[in-house]
């Protein structure tokens, strides 16, 4: 290398190689096709990705500022079962409005690609205030500077930044449409209880699960007064009373183990109750055995007969029209409003059995927001069993099965059609046993 100008050659080639790489790896894929702005939903529809609202954009800045993205990645890979853990695999169009991107390189905490809609805002406020309130084993930092003082109930008041951050988190993954309706059934597992031969051992195992997962909201005595409860609009279930909303048994009855299993697995939409599908089936069954020890009812009573859900009749305009009559006759609008927005005249006065204010469901959010589940059968079930402990009664004695189905179809007409999980006869039979 005696050439005196080897230095210029080196620098020239350095720039050429780097330029070639930037062009081929960074620019060519970008220029080669239109910048992807669309997403294919779970139903195979092509939809436009939605930009961030000003509030969400502000929340994204907080997310960057606090360094959330060093621990939480934002893409679901098509390998190692990630789509069963977090939701559908990521698509290019979902990131159309991300500048800068937040893919991340490390998962010290879980991936947040599909975090939007997983739990109610309340959970996030409690979690950001002190993560160990809701997840005792969490190693996430607290963010007390996102709160200013406490309100009359002792609940820390979120700052505008905190509100924006939660709005951003709730937006994550929602460009894909209502994918959660399908996902809720993922890894639900067997509906046949794995009750341990050694019942006492099972209860002890369940206690461990409870102390690590449930205690933050439901409290160590099951009284629904965990540390995080103050944050929650929909208060945690009080296990000591043995009254449960979501059952397949008649009004007033205790639920079956399978009912509790289903609630734990899928969570309760629109509340802070997360879906626990990542827990092993065994752990879910164990914790049910432990929860049942909180109330004498499970010793003294046996669950009533599981209600029968007949096959769904065709959802026709006539059925919807008949349903509207039922809706009017049963005075559903009294609480849920004539437009199904949950704003009926009595809505502000409603209280649950424990005296907490309780909001009637807003039907315009559709199936993915229903406590009981996203399938029409779930709604039928709720009409038949009522939601014990709330003002929502059972209509089993007032409506015959055809009327209940008509009412289901009318209520469905309030929400976006793609938010309901429509099951085939076969699937419905498998899931609801008729």
């Amino acid at each position: 290398m005696q050439n005196k100008r080897i230095d210029t050659f080196i620098m020239f080639m350095a720039i050429v190689f780097m330029g070639a790489a930037v062009f081929i790896m960074g620019l060519l894929p970008w220029l080669g096709r239109a910048h992807a702005m669309t997403v294919v939903t779970m139903d195979g529809k092509v939809v436009q990705a939605q930009p961030y609202t000003p509030l969400e954009a502000r929340g994204r800045k907080v997310y960057i500022r606090e360094g959330c993205w060093y621990c939480h990645s934002q893409y679901v890979r098509p390998v190692t079962g990630e789509d069963r853990r977090w939701g559908p695999v990521s698509q290019e169009g979902e990131y159309a409005y991300d500048v800068p991107h937040m893919f991340g390189t490390r998962r010290i905490g879980p991936d947040l690609t599909r975090e939007g809609g997983r739990v109610h805002d309340d959970w996030h406020y409690a979690h950001h205030f002190n993560p160990r309130m809701v997840v005792p084993d969490s190693i996430m930092p607290q963010f007390p500077w996102l709160y200013k003082g406490v309100d009359a109930n002792g609940k820390p008041i979120p700052t505008d930044d905190a509100v924006a951050l939660v709005a951003y988190i709730q937006k994550l993954g929602t460009n894909l449409g209502p994918w959660r309706k399908n996902f809720l059934y993922i890894s639900a597992g067997s509906s046949i209880p794995t009750i341990p031969a050694d019942i006492e051992g099972g209860i002890q195992a369940g206690r461990k699960v409870f102390e690590r997962r449930c205690i933050g909201c439901h409290g160590d005595t099951g009284n629904g007064k965990g540390a995080a409860a103050v944050f929650l609009t929909t208060q945690p279930r009080v296990f000591t009373d043995g009254i449960f909303k979501l059952r397949s048994t008649p009004s007033g009855s205790i639920p079956t183990d399978a009912d509790l299993y289903r609630t734990i697995t899928m969570g309760v939409r629109g509340t802070a109750m997360p879906n626990w599908h990542e827990l092993t089936e065994e752990d879910r069954w164990f914790v049910i055995q432990y929860i049942k020890t909180f109330s004498e009812r499970f010793k003294d009573e046996t669950p009533g007969d599981v209600i029968v859900i007949p096959p769904e009749p065709p959802n026709t305009p006539e059925a919807v029209a008949r349903g509207k009559i039922v809706y009017d006759q049963m005075k559903c609008a009294e609480c849920h409003g004539v437009d199904g927005k949950g704003d009926g005249p009595s809505a502000p006065t409603l209280r649950d059995n424990w005296g907490n204010p309780i909001a009637p469901r807003n039907f315009t959010h559709g199936g993915t927001d229903m406590k009981s589940g996203p399938a029409p059968q779930d709604m039928y079930k709720a009409f038949s069993t009522g939601l014990d402990g709330t003002p929502m009664p059972s209509y089993a004695d007032f409506l015959n099965p055809d009327q209940r189905w008509d009412l289901v179809h009318y209520v469905m007409s309030f929400g976006p059609p793609d938010t309901y999980l429509i099951l085939t006869q076969q699937e419905a039979g498998d899931a609801y046993g008729h």
Partner: protein
């Protein structure tokens, strides 16, 4: 001071004061930013520790550690060594020497402002380019001036033969003078969606692959032959290393985002070029060990050689790990885990920061004119780093494999976090060990500067040993 003054006159090419100032700040940053890493790591086990203040939250000081080690600890020391090495290799004084002093202050202001911008919540969300734009401005200006100084010196050199270190220095400066401004000014604000991720993947890897790697290799190619008093094993082989790095490294960045929605074919190119990096890594390693051949005794005598060889071993391990990590099958298991963190520490700290320490042990006594204050402190430094860092690299690799396996096995997420807690504790202990080593290094260097025992005749500057004619 007469003795040291005479010594400096023996080195008329080097502005000893300039080198000393840069190296001084290099030592300071090498002390501070790894220590920030220990604070970050303690929070894994004690998340509420220093957790009530926004300025000290994990998510704000983690980037302070990462950027601080890259731009503070490594880069500041590197520039100090450049001001020693480049005049020696070109046969002329640095072009625009006086500007070097201004650059030091600009550079330090950039590091301080940058760290402040992260703690105060002004960061911009680009990993390895996290500092706020206004903190980048002094860094960018300083870097461009430094690039001009180095390139102009190389172009005007008296020495005909362009030694391999200068290849690497020239490449590193040119690449980074392009990459650093583009990555910090255009990328965070103008490029949307997955293209942002793709270009950011390239940016990160240009920081590690086109800045730290060539800069670090420039150092060891210079200091290793001096330390073991052997000529370089093969200059031709070293050029194979340079050109293969120059060709392959620019393409590998997308391997940070395998299985992401970034177009698959670019991922494949990134994997292939990542595997091709085995060529430079193995030739470079061969060259280092070949250079030591016949004079392994120098390992006993010279701390420069000790740190060069320790860094070379970690280089070989870390870079081979990096290539395999880029394979899809491997990445299914290891990506997003501490395996990645073990790789970044093996390369950035285990290799390149350790090589800057080797350079410090060579240059600091020469520019201060004093013999190394304490050999026993230096020995403690060496062994604390060697043992603690081996533990850290090992435990992080193990954690990555464990947690990755648990994830593949569908274990509930928080359970996999809980399972890591004891290992994180060991990692913190190993980090404390490293920081004690660095502290002893700092004490030793400062005492060398202030306790005047003149450099013995035998350790005085020799003429640079040229490469074997090949």
């Amino acid at each position: 001071m007469a003795a040291s003054q005479a010594l400096l006159e023996n080195e008329p090419l080097v502005d000893a004061k300039l080198v000393k100032q840069w190296l001084f700040w290099g030592i300071i940053w090498t002390m501070i930013f790894p220590l920030v890493g220990v604070v970050v790591s303690i929070k894994f086990n004690y998340p509420d520790w220093l957790g009530q203040t926004s300025w000290l939250t994990w998510g704000r000081i983690r980037p302070m550690h990462v950027n601080g080690v890259i731009f503070g600890a490594f880069s500041t020391t590197f520039f100090g060594l450049v001001f020693y090495m480049v005049p020696k290799l070109t046969g002329i004084r640095m072009v625009g020497e006086k500007m070097g002093y201004w650059c030091l202050w600009l550079w330090n202001i950039g590091i301080v402002l940058g760290s402040y911008s992260l703690m105060a919540g002004y960061q911009k969300g680009i990993e390895a380019g996290d500092y706020a734009l206004w903190a980048d401005v002094p860094l960018i200006i300083a870097f461009i001036v430094l690039t001009y100084m180095v390139i102009a010196t190389i172009v005007q050199r008296k020495e005909k033969l362009l030694y391999v270190s200068l290849y690497y220095v020239a490449g590193a400066m040119v690449w980074t003078a392009i990459n650093f401004p583009l990555g910090n000014i255009l990328l965070p604000y103008w490029v949307p969606g997955v293209n942002n991720a793709a270009l950011h993947g390239l940016y990160i890897h240009y920081i590690v692959g086109l800045w730290i790697t060539p800069a670090g290799l420039a150092l060891i190619y210079f200091f290793l032959p001096l330390a073991c008093k052997n000529p370089l094993y093969s200059h031709k082989l070293s050029l194979v290393g340079f050109w293969s790095i120059a060709l392959f490294y620019p393409f590998v960045g997308i391997h940070h985002y395998l299985y992401s929605p970034i177009p698959n074919w670019t991922q494949t190119i990134a994997i292939v070029t990542s595997m091709m990096l085995i060529i430079p890594v193995w030739t470079v390693t061969q060259n280092f060990f070949g250079t030591m051949m016949g004079n392994w005794r120098s390992l006993q005598e010279s701390f420069v050689a000790k740190f060069c060889i320790m860094g070379s071993i970690f280089y070989f391990l870390g870079c081979f790990q990096g290539s395999t990590e880029a394979l899809r099958g491997m990445q299914q298991l290891t990506h997003f885990t501490d395996f990645v963190i073990s790789h970044s520490h093996l390369t950035i700290f285990g290799t390149f920061v350790v090589w800057t320490m080797a350079g410090q042990y060579y240059v600091w006594p020469r520019v201060t004119g004093h013999a190394l204050w304490s050999k026993s402190l230096a020995t403690w430094h060496f062994w604390l780093i060697a043992v603690s860092f081996s533990v850290m690299a090992g435990v992080l690799t193990l954690m990555g494999l464990l947690q990755g396996t648990m994830w593949m096995d569908s274990v509930e997420f928080v359970d996999t976090v809980v399972a890591m807690k004891p290992y994180w504790f060991i990692r913190t202990l190993s980090g404390v060990g490293m920081d004690i080593g660095i502290f002893l290094f700092m004490v030793n260097m400062f005492m060398t500067a202030v306790a005047p025992s003149p450099l013995p005749e035998t350790e005085r500057e020799k003429a640079f040993v040229p490469a074997a004619a090949d």
